[in-house]
Symmetry: C2
Subunit: 383 residues, 2 copies
């Protein structure tokens, strides 16, 4: 395994009733802006729990952060933060709200000419407001990492900084019971693909990271379908919630090569056709596995054996079986597994390829060797 530096300082409060812990983890002298999305927290009891926990604190709220949080919306929050002097941000929602709050935290302190530079030019984040979060949709892992994806029109752009890692994260599986089946599916698939993008490369004899990644994949395959079949099973929700956090807090990715090709191509599907993030991943990943089966052979065979118990046949037969099982899992989770499933066809590939080129995605993969032609092959395989 390669050398690495790792730190995950976020304090996690996991389980029923933990929202009350907010009161202990935000200093009393802070002026808090509670940031949320479309208002579902107003109907599922989460807002009331947050408000109760913040009793006695000086706080206000900003609603309306969208899925794929929009730059212009977030900049409205930045204006409010600056005008009214908020100095602690509490994100209440899913990954989009947490990602959006991270950008607000950085942008409110940005001293360059335009906060857009944080996303567009990867301008360094020197200071940021402290953040806490109450997670209501397990999926992105944003609750304990320093990454954020923000959209502006058709562009989905990333920035990351340890300064925007939440100081605390409340993970109460109860809050996920009101999610729609589609949100549950998307969350499970998102966490699954996060794990795969840190796992499915080439072996570097990082045995703990491999075992941990396989443990998350096994858990998501086991629990994901149950969350759809028995939506009130809180133990299932708890396992999914904890898996999603572990999938992208950095731990399984330390010291190993990573390949975020599926995400990069997926982002263009969301940007151009407004397809849910996770549903782009379930379309692209099987095609990546197919097209990159040679460079990923050793890990694909290991995945086949350890995750699906496939131990017979040639390497290619095992890989075929593993891809088929992956697709079967996605179908069980009721997400699309081809471009045809979302009514896209060969004519749309040029649009996606143009976007990839525009965003500089011309050297993808764990070796940085996947060209635009390879991405085209992946999209054609995904037809």
């Amino acid at each position: 395994m390669d050398k690495f530096t790792y730190q995950s300082p976020t304090k996690i409060h996991f389980g029923e009733g933990q929202i009350a812990e907010i009161a202990n983890d935000i200093p009393k002298d802070k002026k808090i802006l509670v940031i949320y999305g479309g208002g579902s927290i107003k109907t599922n009891g989460v807002y009331e729990q947050v408000a109760a926990a913040l009793s006695g604190f000086n706080w206000d709220e900003f609603a309306g952060v969208e899925p794929n949080p929009q730059y212009d919306t977030l900049m409205q929050a930045v204006a409010k933060v600056k005008a009214e002097g908020f100095d602690f941000l509490l994100a209440v929602g899913g990954g989009s709200v947490v990602d959006g709050t991270k950008f607000i935290a950085a942008a409110a302190c940005y001293e360059g000419s335009d906060p857009w530079e944080i996303l567009h030019d990867q301008a360094p984040v020197i200071t940021a407001l402290p953040i806490g979060c109450v997670l209501t949709l397990p999926a992105t892992g944003s609750e304990t990492n320093g990454g954020s994806v923000v959209s502006r029109g058709k562009d989905k752009l990333f920035f990351g900084s340890p300064l925007v890692k939440p100081t605390f994260a409340i993970l109460d599986p109860q809050t996920t019971l009101s999610l729609s089946p589609r949100q549950v599916s998307n969350g499970v698939v998102d966490a699954f693909v996060h794990t795969m993008e840190q796992y499915l490369t080439f072996p570097v004899n990082a045995k703990v990271q491999d075992r941990f990644a396989e443990g998350l994949l096994l858990t998501l395959i086991e629990e994901g379908p149950k969350a759809l079949a028995t939506p009130n099973d809180i133990a299932v929700r708890a396992n999914i919630m904890w898996s999603a956090t572990q999938a992208l807090n950095g731990l399984i990715g330390v010291g190993v090569p990573q390949d975020w090709t599926t995400h990069m191509i997926g982002h263009e599907l969301t940007g151009n056709y407004a397809i849910d993030h996770a549903r782009t991943l379930s379309i692209v990943l099987p095609a990546v596995m197919q097209v990159c089966r040679t460079e990923k052979q050793a890990k694909l065979v290991q995945y086949a054996e350890r995750v699906f118990g496939i131990t017979t046949g040639t390497a290619d037969e095992r890989i075929d079986a593993a891809i088929a099982r992956t697709i079967a899992f996605f179908k069980e989770m009721d997400v699309p597994t081809s471009l045809a499933d979302v009514e896209l066809g060969a004519a749309d590939i040029d649009v996606l390829i143009n976007s990839l080129e525009k965003h500089g995605m011309t050297a993808l993969g764990e070796h940085g060797k996947l060209t635009i032609a390879d991405s085209r092959k992946i999209l054609e395989t995904a037809l």
Copy 2:
């Protein structure tokens, strides 16, 4: 799974050459006391690397912390810290040095009448000096947790506080190449039993924790014997080092029952007969598995299947096979697996039982239901 709060803020620098990072992680204005053990760091190059990294810092050293760090020795360091005004402690060594440094950090700031109260009366730690560490012996997990075990005569006493978690930990597997085979064995077995004590209880449907624990067990079983057979294989050392940290940083233990019976009985073997800590664990654990096979049945069967691939036979047959495989692994690691192996016999059991009673160890196990009579049965089984 149960509700929990988890935080592991230690920044980890893992890999060759990472000792140099000390210079970036200790504020320049600190007066540093470097604390180490018997001086092996003077012969394996670690001391030189630390000294080079501390060039330009204001620092001094305190040598002589023993395995099973002794209270009186540590109090000498406390006197030096207070007399000379050190305000940062850098532990360089194995778990004993790190544990000892944690006590020094707490004792130097203790405002009660006698720092012994921290250990003997679990007096709360209100403040502590900041600590960093350079780990040279992977075993105890002390490098990222808040626990410490200190000895005074025959008593081994524990204290814990988040305030003594190291702010950073340097894990360079190269530093472990000079360990003796006995130290390597002890470290692997210690990490293995730490994992077992958080895993081998009863199921609470905590799938991620179970899979992570099993991943560590599988890795230690695979890599431990290799570290003895091919002692210069740095990749093997890296996997062991990372396993040992993950085994006791708290992650696999969140939200699940734990059973530290093996450690509690083992401590009396060390206290009374000066047997290496890990070698007490390899004696006691198989007997605990045997005596507690009914209450631990479900997890023992799961362990048999997932760690050793034992999938046939009755539950009792599988458990017998799993215990036999565990003993075989310990023998491969060249550690004792019975009291006879360390030349103790039936006549010694009373001594150990008396110590357990004296230390209040009268309600052990994940249910708190193991009586002194049960501990006697465990020791008799270990004969």
